[in-house]
Each structure stands twice: as C-alpha cells, then as structure tokens.
C-alpha cells in the first residue's frame, strides 16, 4: 500500500452526510399547534376585552331555545367529553395502552391533594394543574420503566395506579384530619358529580375537546405511525419520544377534565369504549377516529338524556352503560370483525370443507357415473349423523349432488366438476409438499392435516408453478381426469 507519511487506517468509512436533507424534510411539528394555541389565547383576550362572557352567552342561548337548563348542560358536557375521549382514546387502544387512562385517573389524586395543600381551598384551575402534573409524572413512569428496567408495561401501569393513589389517600387522610380539611371536596372530584355540571365546566370541556381534536388533526401522520409501529417510527427518525409524550399528555388532559365530570373509573370508560367499539367496524384509522368520535358523542348524549329521563339513575354510570351497549352491539354485529360475522364465517368454512370432502368421497366411490348407496361412504363419514345429512342437503341445494333413490347418491355435472377440482388440488398439494419436505411419517401426517384447506392453498400458487406441478403429475400418470364429459 503506498504510504506517503500520512496516517491512513484499515479503511475509511465514508458516509454520505444526508443530515442536511433529513433536517429539511423533518416537519416543524410544533409550529402549527403553537399557532393554534396562540389564536385561541388571542380570541380569549379579545373576548375578555370586549366583555363577552361565554358562560352567560351559553345560558342565554339555552334559555332562548327553551330547553331544560341543567339537562342541556350535562348532555352537552358529556357529549363533548365523549368526543374528546373517543378520538384520543382510539390511539390509547391502538397502542395497547387502554388502561393508561385508568392509571392516569387514579394517579391524579396526589396532584389534587398537593394542590389543595398549596392553595388551601377548592379551586378548579389549581386542582386541574395538580392533577395534570401528577398524571404526566405517572405516564412518564409508565413509559420509562419498561424501556429501562425489566419491569413489564402491565406491572408499570399497576404500580403507578396503586402507589400514586396510595400516596394521594395518605395525603388526603392527613388533610381531612387537619382542622380545616373537611371541605376539601376531593372525594367528589374522584367519584364525579355528572349531574352537578355547571356551564363553566362545559366551557372548560369544550376548550379541551377542541384542542384534542386539533392536536390529532395536526399530528395525524405522526400519531398514526406511533400508534401502529412505534419502533419503526423511532428508526425512521421521527422524534418518537416527543410525539409519544404529546399523545400521552393529550390523554392526561382529557382524563383530568373528565375526572370532575364523571369520576375516576368512568372517565377511563369514555376513553376506552368508543375506540374499542369503533375498531370493530373498520380497518382504516381515519374512519375509526370518526366513528369513535360519533360513538363518544352518542354515549355521552344518550347517557345524559337517559339519566335526565330516569331521575334515579346517576348520570356518570348511565353514560358508561350506554357505551357498554354500543360496545356489545359492535362486538356482536360488526361485519367481518364482529362475533356473529366470525361465527358465520367459521361455520361456512367448515361446511365448505365438509362439502368438498363429501363430493370427493362420492367421486372415489364411483358416484360420478352412476348412483352409489350412501353406505359406501361409511368408512369416511358417520352417514347417519345429522351433520352428514345436512351436508348432503346443502350439496343437493347447490345441485352438486342428486339423490335418485332414498339411499343413493350421484354427482351432477356441477358436482363432478367440483369434485374433480378438489381431487386435482389435492394431488397438486401433495406433490408440492412431498417435493419440498421429506415425506417421513410425521410430515405425511402434517400433509394430510393441511389437506383440509387444499383448494385455498392451491389457489394461492403461482400459475407457472401450478402448471409445472400438473405436468409432473400427468407424466407420472397421477392426474385425476374424468375423461370426456358424458353427453
């Protein structure tokens, strides 16, 4: 190697610097939310300066419409909360973090208590800040523990939920036993007093809901990536940590604002149920979010109206129970992913397999040309069973099989074609497998087992591969053929 005195090493790793490119491509994701937040603050400032009181406007509007005031407030608040919970909760569900909302709701307690200790009285804003603070701490711990220690995410959720709650109970215990602790109102905050919602609460919920929707719209692409494949997002150079934090912070804020309205456990329901229900109906994220928003609104509205109509039923639980009904309907009736659809699908699959096997058996027994007695199939089917009769009935319904005499079966032209197709697929499949795997006794068993789905498997073969296999089978004289069709 020529050496002119310069130090060279075993190899010079030359990496093309594409840092500049990726920096340019990277979206300035914080610009748009910043602008939107600024616009809102400006609106507030202008409204405040012009002396517009949103609460008074809302009251006036309700009175003008002539609706029962309290019910309207509760219904509106619950619907908005359902909207926000449905949208952001969908991501929690997709990320397998559904119970984070529950953990956050519990983890908010110490923050509320500390806020009370600092402020010395009930204060909505103070409580909210304290709750968001400890909620964020809880979320951060849930995200950090599984990544840096051997603690699994389920244990992390349980630990944060219970330890934070325990600390909160301890602090609130101390507050309640102190001289001026009686009116802390912390229990109400935890259990929720949906029916006692006031226009100010609804206004706060509306602001949060608006921002949740805006955040999701602006960060849709990022959230989608994180929601479906966080490791990939990280490796593709997305600031996954930041996006994850924004997503979790949105969940925390939604949870905290809902805490006061429906309580600890029930706010978790508003974040989980609409998203899970929407997932049944679609495979597309955009549609899922719209559906979850819709389900959330229906849940909140329906629950609040039900509670208004039935005064004995508390509003918070009524909302959750409406959500549960939507979930049950979705789980049962949704096309493709629903329980009924899955069941029908499985049934159809089984019936199809049975029908094919039946046709082939009749063919093997010589039923292509002349009627055969059903008893000839006894070695392969329980010919007296109801299932067998149903199968025969179905095949006859499809005009693949006829029953010329009470106990005789014969294939029709359609049936002959179907049976032939099946027999051929089976030969192709056996040929394919016995060439790819050693046909030991064990693999023979596997081949016979796979047999049941041969038509589907063979349909997936490349046409050329299929043709080659067919050629080989013909050459070996092993290709099922009925000869020229009988007139």
């Amino acid at each position: 190697m020529p050496n002119n005195g310069a130090i060279t090493f075993d190899a010079q790793p030359v990496l093309d610097g594409d840092d500049g490119g990726s920096a340019r491509r990277r979206r300035r994701w914080w610009v748009l939310p910043g602008l939107l937040l600024g616009a809102q603050l400006a609106l507030f400032a202008i409204g405040g300066a012009a002396g517009v009181d949103p609460e008074a406007e809302f009251v006036a509007l309700t009175q003008a419409l002539g609706l029962p005031f309290n019910d309207t407030v509760v219904a509106l608040g619950a619907a908005l909360l359902g909207l926000a919970g449905g949208v952001i909760g969908s991501f929690a569900v997709l990320r397998r973090r559904a119970l984070v909302a529950d953990a956050v709701a519990h983890a908010a307690l110490p923050g509320i208590c500390i806020a009370f200790l600092l402020i010395g009285q009930r204060d909505f804003i103070g409580f909210a800040i304290g709750a968001v603070g400890s909620g964020l701490a809880g979320v951060a711990i849930i995200a950090w523990l599984p990544r840096h220690t051997r603690i699994k995410v389920d244990a992390a959720i349980g630990i944060v939920l219970s330890v934070f709650f325990g600390i909160g109970i301890a602090i609130s215990g101390a507050i309640q036993r102190s001289p001026d602790g009686g009116h802390a109102g912390i229990d109400a905050y935890l259990l929720g007093k949906t029916a006692a919602m006031i226009p100010g609460d609804v206004f706060a919920i509306a602001v949060v809901t608006l921002n949740v929707v805006l955040v999701v719209i602006v960060l849709y692409k990022e959230f989608r990536l994180i929601g479906f494949d966080a490791p990939f997002a990280r490796s593709a150079g997305f600031p996954a940590g930041v996006i994850d934090f924004v997503m979790m912070a949105t969940i925390v804020v939604t949870t905290v604002i809902g805490l006061a309205a429906v309580g600890v456990v029930l706010i978790a329901a508003l974040l989980i149920i609409p998203g899970v229900s929407a997932r049944f109906w679609t495979e597309r994220l955009g549609r899922m979010l719209l559906l979850a928003a819709l389900f959330g609104v229906v849940t909140g509205l329906g629950g609040a109206l039900a509670a208004a109509a039935l005064p004995d039923i508390p509003a918070g639980p009524a909302i959750v129970m409406v959500g549960a009904v939507i979930f049950a309907l979705s789980a049962l009736l949704a096309p493709r992913r629903g329980i009924v659809a899955r069941f029908v699908d499985r049934l159809r699959r089984r019936a199809t397999l049975f029908r094919r096997a039946l046709l082939e058996a009749v063919r093997d027994a010589g039923g292509s040309r002349e009627p055969i007695p059903a008893t000839a199939l006894e070695s392969r089917f329980a010919v007296r069973s109801l299932g067998f009769r149903l199968g025969v009935w179905w095949a006859r319904l499809r005009t693949e099989l006829v029953r010329p005499a009470p106990n005789a079966l014969q294939l029709t032209a359609t049936g002959r074609a179907a049976a032939l197709e099946y027999a051929r697929a089976r030969r192709l499949w056996h040929r394919l497998l016995s060439r790819t795997v050693d046909a030991t006794r064990e693999t023979r068993a596997v081949i016979d087992d796979v047999d049941r789905d041969v038509i589907d498997a063979v349909a997936a073969l490349h046409p050329q591969a299929r043709a080659r296999l067919e050629q080989a089978l013909r050459a070996a004289g092993d290709w099922p053929d009925d000869g020229p069709e009988a007139p």
Partner: protein
C-alpha cells in the same frame, strides 16, 4: 424475628392493625409474584375494580349486609370480569387491556348505579371501598375464646393467608411451570387449566378479603409492587417470593408507625412505602437497577475508547516505524472527541501503556507494556474483517465499521472458533497482516 420487637401489646389496637396488614401483605405478595411473572398485573386491576359492583349486586339479591354474602358477591363479580374479558378477547379479537377496561368500567358503572338506587336503605359507602377501614378494624371484633377479642377482618384474613400459603406450597411446581413456560403448561392440558383457574379464583378471594382492610385500589399495590421490587433484585423464584413477602411485612409495620406520626391513613402510607422501596430498587438494584446499569455502560464505553486508542497507536507504529507517535488532538479526533478520549489518555499514561514522545507531552506513542494489548486488539479487528470477507462475502470496503465494534467483544473462545475457520497467515481484506496474538513483546 427482630420485627417482633416492633409489635405493640396485644391489647393495643395497633397490634391488630399491624397483624392484619401483615396478613394481607403476605397473601398478596405470594400471589402477586405469579401475577407479575405471568404479566397478569392488569387482571389484578380488573378484579379490584369489580369489588364494588359485586357487593352492590350481592346486596340487591340477598338484601342482607352479612360480610360473608358481600364477599361472595364480590368474588363472583371478580371472576365474572376476568372470564368475560377473556371471552371478549378470544371471540371478538379485542386486545387484553382494552377487553379488561371495557368489562370492569361497565361493571363498576352497574355497581355505582345499584348502590345509588339502594342508597337510602343501606350505607354502602364508596368511601370505604376506596380507603378501607384498617384504622378501625377493632370496632368489629369477635371472641374466639380465651377472652381475647380478635377483629373479624383479621380472622378472615388469617384463614385466607393460610389457604394461599397452602395453595402455593402444594402447587409450587405447577405454578412455576405456568409462570415460565405457559405454552408447555397449556399443552399439558386440564390439570394446569384447573390450577390456573384456582389461582385466579384465589386472587379474587384475596382481593375481596383485603379490600375491607386496605381498600380496593390499594390491594393492587400490595399485589404488584412487592413482587416487582423483588424482580429487580433477584432471578430466583423462591428468593423473589421471600423478598416480596419481606417487603410486604416491612411496609405493613413501617406503614403503621409513619401513619401514626403523620396522623393519616395507614393503607395509603403502606402503598406509598412500597412505592418508595420500589423506586429505590429501580435506581440502585445491583444488576437490574438503573444506576448500576449506567455505570456498567459507562465502564464499557471507557474500555472501548482505551482499546481503540491502543489499536490506533499500534497502527501508527506499523505505518511509520520511524515516527510512531500521534498528537493528543489527532487521537481525540479519531476517537470521536469529547471527554472519553481525555480520560482514556490519562488512564493509559498512568498505567504506563502509552508514553509521551516529546518533551512537551503533546505527542503520544505506544510504550512497551501496552504493546501486547494493542497488538491483540488489532489482531481481533483484522481477524473479524478477514472472517467477514472470506466466510460471509462482505465487501472489503464494508468490513471496517463492523470490525471496529466487534473487536471489543471477541473473547478467547470466539477467537479460537474464528481461527479454526480461517487461516490467519493470509493478510486481512485490506492487505495488512494479522499480527501474532501471543507474540513476545
């Protein structure tokens, strides 16, 4: 038995508070170990949330406030929530956490509704479900003979603790298999499915028995946190279980005294203490803690930079035998700059592995004591390059970065294995000789 010194007199209510807390903690820690190992922590969560509806429904059906009926109702609700969420998971294809979330929030809503509807006739207090009544358990006591009044909750929990301990002792082997090889356990069939169901049933029983004392939510802390803490400290199941039980007992006793001092809720303090111990373990646990891991990583980083530096100086010797030195600035740049190269230079100078080559000490060169190690690093580097190129067909231009990393982690066994595969007389892919590993200085 040192802990016994902390026990107050039997006539004191503190004795019963501590005894009850210890019993709850033992039962929870024994079962929680398997919950955490089997990643079923969220099931504990769901079970504890089903207690309230269970009680409500039991009251609605029976119309009585008998604690046994309440407990039975809660246990049934707990099992229903677990079974129902498993059914939803299986037949509707919903992820486990979402299924649990749907089921227990719905059950909770039903429970709250029932309790609200019957609120006039019964003081089923949601507050009590949240907090537990550990501080006042002595108010409800039974005479077991001998004239000593034993709190009813304590009696129940003693029985439960005995059952749990017996269950774990008898089915130790099976529980272990369920925890560490669930696939095998499933394939072994019925017996294990039965034990699994028994296990979940016992978790429900413990949760229900414990909620009266410590509240439904804090049961989760007692179930999960001691086991999670133990998991950070040991890799052996029996040690893990002993640690979990130990943490449980210690936090029960400590909780009582802290709560007395701060005049607050015992159960909350117990959960808080468990959290503190867990946090300490997360940070300081010898092998799995965060700080030791950081320290280990930093140690590895420093070793790698030292080895890189020695290898660089060795190559400089090869290329310019007449002037084998490099300036500190050059070395630092090659090694990525920053603090690590400076530390490495200081360490190696102190050890005598490298030496200054000029009076000012700016140029550094390999000293005799450092030569064998430097040669070994270059040997491993080129050995790996040769292996990548000849055996795996990696292009010569691409082998360097991989070898730069691998050379720090090739031990004697790896080296022997590679040497058996390729001949080390032929030069590496860049045409440089692979230096003799064991050459005398």
């Amino acid at each position: 038995m040192l802990l016994l010194a902390f026990l107050p007199d039997i006539a004191d209510s503190g004795f019963w508070i501590i005894a009850t807390a210890v019993l709850v903690n033992i039962s929870c820690a024994l079962l929680g170990t398997f919950l955490v190992l089997r990643r079923l922590s969220l099931v504990g969560d769901a079970i504890s949330h089903s207690v309230l509806p269970g009680i409500g429904i039991a009251f609605l059906i029976s119309g009585s406030r008998d604690p046994l009926i309440m407990m039975a109702g809660a246990a049934v609700a707990a099992l229903v929530s677990v079974v129902l969420s498993r059914l939803i998971e299986r037949f509707a294809g919903v992820p486990e956490d979402a299924a649990l979330g749907v089921v227990f929030t719905t059950l909770f809503a039903i429970g709250v509704t029932i309790i609200t509807l019957t609120a006039d006739s019964v003081d089923l207090d949601a507050d009590c479900v949240l907090h537990g009544i550990l501080a006042i358990i002595t108010l409800d006591a039974v005479d077991l003979g001998g004239g000593t009044l034993v709190p009813r909750v304590t009696v129940t929990l003693s029985v439960v603790a005995l059952i749990v301990a017996g269950f774990v002792a008898v089915f130790w082997k099976e529980l272990k298999l369920l925890a560490f090889d669930p696939g095998l356990a499933r394939s072994l069939g019925g017996r294990y499915a039965l034990i699994d169901s028994l296990f979940l049933g016992l978790v429900a029983v413990v949760t229900v028995a414990a909620f009266e004392a410590v509240g439904a939510i804090l049961v989760i802390a007692l179930l999960i946190v001691p086991a999670a803490t133990g998991q950070l400290l040991t890799d052996r199941l029996w040690a893990l279980m002993l640690l979990a039980v130990g943490f449980g007992i210690a936090s029960a006793i400590g909780g009582r005294y802290v709560a007395l001092a701060a005049d607050t809720d015992v159960a909350g303090v117990i959960a808080g203490l468990l959290g503190v111990v867990f946090a300490l373990a997360v940070v300081f646990a010898p092998r799995h803690g965060y700080l030791p891991k950081l320290a280990q990583r930093a140690g590895t980083a420093r070793r790698m930079v030292r080895e890189d530096l020695l290898a660089m100086l060795y190559r400089a010797r090869e290329i310019r035998p007449d002037d084998p030195s490099l300036t500190r600035a050059e070395l630092s740049e090659i090694l990525g700059g920053g603090r690590l190269p400076r530390i490495a230079i200081r360490r190696l100078l102190a050890a005598g592995d490298i030496a200054p080559a000029d009076p000012a000490g700016d140029r550094l060169t390999l000293a005799e004591p450092g030569l064998p190690q430097a040669r070994r690093m270059v040997h491993k580097h080129r050995l790996w390059e040769a292996y990548l190129h000849r055996k795996l067909g990696v292009a010569p231009a691409d082998v360097h970065p991989a070898a730069d990393e691998a050379m720090h982690f090739i031990d004697d066994d790896d080296r022997q294995a590679i040497t058996d595969e390729i001949d080390i007389v032929t030069p590496d892919p860049h045409g440089k000789p692979i230096p003799d590993y064991d050459a005398a200085p």
